[in-house]
Amino acid sequence: MKLLRDLPAYLWSGWGAISSLLLLMAVWEWGNQIYGDLVLPTPLAAFQTLGQLFASGEAWTQLLITGRRAFAGFLFSVAVGSTLGIAAGLSMTASMMSRPIVTVLVGMPPIAWIVLALLWFGATDMAPIFTVFIACFPIVFVGAMQGTRTLDNQLKDMANVFKLPKWMAFIDVYLPHIFSYIFPAWISALGMSWKIVVMAELLATSDGVGAALAVSRSHLDTAATMAWIVSVVALLLMVEYLLLEPIKREIEKWRETGSD
């Protein structure tokens, strides 16, 4: 597949990213020298702790729990956001009406949702899942709505002139256009879900990476804290650059901006 053929070149282009990560490590190390182990442990200490966490299976367990929650909330927001967004895009009135609601949803700090979720669902799985859903929803919704709103008459004329049957006009003409807006929104939402879920867990649950962070904080275990942070960030980077970015490139090859 083309995806695999491009992989070496793609990885090679990652050198820039890796060197900037190394630079970050250097700054981290430097910070350790200034502030001492209690405030900021060395990267080495953090990675060692991380290694132990993985060796004991603790890291896998918690990451799996967190990942499941993030993904559930994300999928839910994709399903609901895309459907409602497309529906709203089809009607001028609906998109006008949804604007202020979206603004409110976007402007609402996630922490407020977490508190509400705690009140509504208690310390259950539903609290972080709901928070992720409600934080991702407006992103997906706006992407879907814009994709549908920007369907222009030119595309409709095209479909008319060549007498495309309805299903074909939808699959071959309208859907790719809408999808080119929705897909980037999905990706932003996925990144968002990962950040939100940790925050929600920190406050609302007794398991998951967020909860583990809360525990290590209460133990003043900075090394473990950094270890958990590293694991979360690394996972996000891996999903982003090894999975989503190549898919995005493949799907959007036809875009002028997407080409190299």
Binding site: Q154, D157, M158, F162, K163, L164, D172, W254, R255
Partner: protein
């Protein structure tokens, strides 16, 4: 030759007027086109040529007047290529075949054949529209309009982005389509020489509101029109007061 054997297929436009909001864009347009005929529509920018063609194709709703089309299949080529950006050239050309449920292999073969005749090369077929030059996009769009072998072709400035060599090659192709299948063509052009070379009748339009001010029948059969004749006839047309006025030369 085959006159009166069957009812002649034709497109009849009678007393069509059109307005966009308060703008009178077309006024009292009548024309008819029969199988085997090429009609060229010339006139200044903004005089309503595209609007008239869109009315003929039924893309724009008719407001006033009557249009009847007895051709079996009608094809339309937009002024801008309007290829689907997410489909490669071959799939773009084949889109109307896909709409008719022609099997993939067969439609790709047909699209490829026509694309090659349009001067596209094999590598172009896999490219996306944004990777093609303007002229290539136009040829792909023309191929897309021709691939169904329609018997009425409505072409909006089909050759405007092509160089001289390609133009004359595609003229040949169009004439061939016409003679072989007795297709009819209604074609918009800004190029009076092109109109002279290709058409049986030139309709000259004027703006505000758009109307047909002159009809120039050209009786010489297409294959007999050499460069000399084309130059001379074009020059003669350019001298007429109507053409001079329509193109703002006076």
């Amino acid at each position: 030759m085959i006159k009166n054997t069957a009812k002649q297929k034709s497109l009849e436009v009678s007393q069509v007027s059109h307005t966009f909001g308060l703008d009178d864009v077309l006024e009292d347009i009548s024309l008819s086109i029969h199988a085997g005929q090429i009609i060229a529509l010339v006139g200044p920018s903004g005089c309503g040529k595209t609007t008239l063609l869109r009315l003929c194709a039924g893309i724009t709703d008719l407001v006033e007047g009557k249009i009847s089309n007895s051709f079996d299949s009608t094809s339309f080529m937009f002024q801008q290529p309007r290829l689907l950006p997410w489909k490669n050239t071959l799939d773009n050309i084949a889109i109307s075949l896909k709409a008719r449920r022609v099997a993939r292999q067969q439609r790709e073969a047909l699209a490829r054949k026509l694309g090659l005749r349009m001067g596209l090369v094999e590598e172009d077929f896999k490219k996306f529209p944004h990777e093609l030059s303007g002229g290539m996009q136009q040829r792909a769009a023309l191929a897309r309009a021709l691939v169904l072998e329609p018997d009425l072709l409505l072409l909006d400035e089909p050759f405007s982005a092509l160089d001289v060599g390609l133009k004359s090659e595609l003229y040949g192709l169009l004439v061939e389509q016409l003679v072989h299948r007795r297709a009819a063509v209604l074609m918009i052009t800004h190029d009076l020489m092109e109109a002279t070379r290709l058409s049986d009748v030139i309709l000259l339009m004027e703006a505000d509101p758009g109307r047909i001010v002159q009809r120039y029948p050209l009786d010489k059969p297409l294959p007999e029109r050499d460069d000399n004749w084309v130059y001379q006839t074009t020059a003669k047309l350019m001298q007429t007061p109507e053409v001079q006025e329509s193109f703002g030369l006076v």
